[in-house]
Symmetry: C2
Subunit: 229 residues, 2 copies
């Protein structure tokens, strides 16, 4: 064995919790494991960190290898390192999370994953390792973050209606929201641009389409504005 | 060398950014390194993770060994793992942070630290490794968190005056706060208990002493109350 050290070292992995949204609600991207341990079991995509890449590069690489997904904005979530969380020995994993638009990104299995698929966050299959806990922590982070920052826009199409935005927040916060207060609050935030367009091909009265103004948002964020919905 | 693996592994450390407060402002606890690399240089306390302890246990152990500090509430901050951040080779560190009352906790150097001392957060000495960046990320986290959660109480004596509380927030947020609005907002939060006591041995008119009601706070937190100051 070529790699020897004076002291024992844990193995280091990265995992990526990817949330998406479709008409049925909030989804998470999982892969079916092609190798042991937990062969055939669903898991959060991830794998071992190479010595010459940063943690985020490793997360990005593993995500693309296992699911085909790329160009998502990964944010570090938490590092899970309890002894015993992996039957292979001490393995510490740095978890990342991201939001993406489900339908815009096809999912393919590759490398050591047998397949990849989206599952309802509220009803996932049995997961390998401590991945149920990792998913729970990521879901908590999403719920907590959405209260203070307009992260939800990452989950919508570029142009969206205020009803779509409200549905999104109702799903993320898991509670009904008063329509009038919501619209007033969203407009007060001053981060939406009226595109001047309306919905196409809808049976009901076509609603106005808006777009998220990221530059304006980042300006406001730096000036300490409260984005609580 | 007794520890051999099929693939190379990074070494894993933990680091603890401990903030405290005294009459001069916000402080951070640093140790002077007793060994190479960066011997004699100031650094954030920390060290290597043992194979049979959790990451948090490792952080707690290293903090006590190097500074004598214990019983602080450590929260995971971020994991730093860029190749090249440590001259010894690939070393990934899981950073934790905590708030504590400076004057209540004596600091002693122990184990591989030569000495330990508090420094002004805004004017730290040159730090080993990427610890200047670790401190910056911890300071950002503190500033961002204090806006949404009453974390500041950890930095005050058990019984405190509203002026002390306001000074604390002014230091943490780094801006002056309007006294009347602040008092109204704090009272509206409904997490302070009037102790019925007043300050002793003060030259000016003695102010009322309050205490933070952690149970009440946790109840309100679960019910989704906004704690923004």
């Amino acid at each position: 064995m070529p790699y020897s050290y004076d002291y024992p070292r844990p193995a280091l992995t990265v995992d990526c919790v990817i949330f998406g949204l479709d008409e049925d609600g909030l989804k998470v991207l999982l892969i079916k494991r092609g190798g042991e341990p937990f062969r055939g079991c669903w898991a959060i995509p991830g794998g071992f960190v190479d010595m010459d890449e940063s943690l985020e590069q490793a997360a990005r690489r593993e995500l693309e290898e296992e699911t085909g997904l790329k160009s998502v904005y990964l944010e570090q979530l938490y590092t899970f390192g309890d002894p015993g969380r992996d039957p292979r020995g001490r393995v510490v994993t740095v978890a990342y999370w991201a939001l993406t638009r489900v339908l815009a990104e096809p999912v393919r299995a590759a490398s050591d994953a047998d397949s990849a698929a989206w599952f309802a966050v509220d009803d996932p299959p049995k997961l390998a390792f401590d991945h149920a806990r990792v998913l729970e922590v990521a879901h908590e982070r999403l719920r907590s973050k959405v209260r203070y920052q307009p992260v939800g826009f990452e989950l919508l199409p570029r142009d969206f209606t205020l009803s779509q935005l409200q549905q999104l927040y109702e799903i993320l916060l898991d509670r009904p929201i008063d329509k009038r207060n919501f619209r007033k609050r969203v407009m007060d935030l001053d981060v939406l641009v009226d595109t001047g367009e309306v919905q196409q091909d809808v049976a009901h009265r076509a609603a106005k389409l808006y777009r998220f103004d990221r530059r304006r948002y980042e300006q406001l964020l730096r000036s300490g504005v409260n984005f609580e919905i």
